[in-house]
Symmetry: C2
Subunit: 341 residues, 2 copies
């Protein structure tokens, strides 16, 4: 685990580093079965598929979304096996989205560079993403519940809409906080919500519990994405999966930027326009971007916004009785808001 760069923010040192330990302790066996099913489901006579997909799925990742499905089913007292397959679906949909994101992001970055490797990467990303997406639907269909199919196919359509929305806000420094929230609700939080609510669906729990878990997932997902966007400016280089400053280099408009733009003067807005709209950047620009964010406290305030959604997520679990799984889900919120990477 890396350290948090001092932001002068409200990210106070905590007694112990937030982690997913307690939830993994409770559903570790199920998660092991999900990992096994992930590998088994990627068998294909076309060997590139298990090779590439295996590499991608195995290469770290926190498995937050399948953990949500497993934990929600467990919280609802579910005793069967269906949550294993559905958690796998959720992870496949997520991985397919990541692969397609790579194409979209990479294309944007590739201008003027030698593209031979990037090209092969693009082709594989598109096609293996399609394969994982199709495989997810096959697993859902074999699960046999039209209710679950509806939740997950709706989530997939909303994610795709969210990705297109993000494309339209990219490089637009005038994007509003509301537009940004719509994007992250669609592209990130909707799958968290679906992942959690199918846990209640397989357990055949009352609608109120399904809705509570959906709300938990949605708000957890928003908080998670807000912190992800903070970490893109603030985490230690070697502790974060992605390189620091990716969002900046790609001209992605995230909340730390939106707030800095709105609180900035004309000169600062020229800086944001040059670097994020025109993508005319020098090596020093990322440091100056962080200086402006510090000046206007935008990273701290984005973390505060994440805390707001985290609080809603916590309260949505109020209808469930106290138990170790509920406690672990509450710690998951803490992880989403206070994680160092």
């Amino acid at each position: 685990m890396g350290n948090i760069i001092s932001l002068g923010t409200s990210r106070k040192p905590l007694p112990d580093t937030p982690s997913l330990e307690s939830i993994i302790a409770l559903v570790g066996d199920d998660l092991h079965r999900v990992n096994q099913l992930i590998v088994d489901s990627m068998h294909s006579p076309v060997s590139l598929i298990p090779q590439l997909a295996g590499h991608i799925v195995a290469s770290g990742g926190k498995r937050l979304r399948p953990l949500l499905t497993l934990a929600a089913a467990n919280l609802c007292g579910y005793q069967g096996d269906r949550h294993i397959g559905l958690a796998t679906c959720v992870e496949f949909i997520h991985t397919a989205t990541l692969l397609h994101d790579d194409v979209v992001d990479e294309s944007r970055l590739r201008r003027g560079k030698d593209s031979a490797n990037a090209v092969w990467g693009n082709q594989s990303s598109v096609l293996v993403g399609d394969f994982l997406f199709s495989r997810a639907f096959q697993i859902m269909v074999s699960d046999g519940s039209l209710r679950v199919l509806k939740i997950l196919s709706n989530a997939s359509a909303v994610i795709a809409e969210g990705e297109v929305m993000q494309l339209l806000t990219t490089n637009d420094t005038e994007t509003s906080e509301e537009a940004y929230l719509n994007v992250i609700r669609a592209k990130t939080a909707t799958l968290f919500a679906a992942a959690a609510s199918v846990g209640a669906v397989v357990a055949e729990r009352p609608t109120a519990e399904e809705q509570a878990l959906e709300s938990f997932g949605m708000n957890l997902g928003i908080a998670f994405q807000l912190i992800d966007d903070v970490l893109d400016y603030a985490a230690e280089e070697d502790s974060l999966g992605k390189t620091i400053g990716d969002d900046f280099r790609e001209g992605k408009i995230t909340l730390p930027v939106i707030l800095a733009w709105r609180r900035g003067n004309d000169e600062e807005r020229s800086f944001w326009r040059r670097t994020l709209e025109e993508l005319n950047q020098t090596a020093q620009d990322i440091a100056y971007a962080k200086t402006l964010m510090d000046k206007h406290n935008t990273l701290r305030d984005t973390i505060d916004r994440a805390g707001h959604y985290g609080a809603i997520a916590r309260d949505s679990l109020g209808i469930f009785r106290e138990c170790p799984m509920k406690d672990a889900l509450l710690k998951m919120v803490n992880f989403a808001v206070h994680r160092p990477n």
Copy 2:
């Protein structure tokens, strides 16, 4: 309609140009409803989606796959409405695949060129493709038949595998006829087979009829793709949707090339290696490629192979009684094998 370049082949002039007229005459009203549902299903608060998707779906296309679903349902005496939604799904899956193909193909062609427009094209193609694919699953889920969902989700997974297979055979002049057939079965014919068989499924016909229509679709699809690959070398420039020589420029290994390679001498194989493996091409190379194909009769023989699969498609309909719809489906085979573009 354009004319066929004289190939010295078995594509004899026919009394009348093969067309889809008779099938459109019989299911034209249903096709109109499909077109309407296509437009209605692309509504999204994200206006880029109806804009781009509408442009793509509206820009021609023969609607062969939805026609198959409509005709198969009609042949089986189906009286309800479900075939409209399912024909729309089939067309969306096809269009999503085309969009993702564009990324894969375009990337390969874009080396060294200014990529600004291509980049935006790539991003939109990936994301709108994902949206259409998700929308197709939503429509299938609302249809509510797990049997249909199984057929179409399996088809989607096989298509994705086929696309990856094609990626692996591209630029490999030693690809075998068998490997090539596996690719086109997976990437093209499987969706034709699924499109036709769901027509029997909604009509709740016996398994024998479902299988007959599946076989009809599969063999029709193989024949269609073989002729598509011939036309990429032989159609008139202005009569074909795609530009002549696309496959050659991209180094796609199709049957006309596979046969020319296998029948060629060392010097000819050097030519194919240089042009299709190394993609080191001059403006004159496409003409020389055609000269070699003429020398070895590979376009004619590919058409003969298509005729073979067309014959199997025809015979698979043998279990159905004579009727105008059966006759129209037989004419569809004629169209697939003898169409000028």
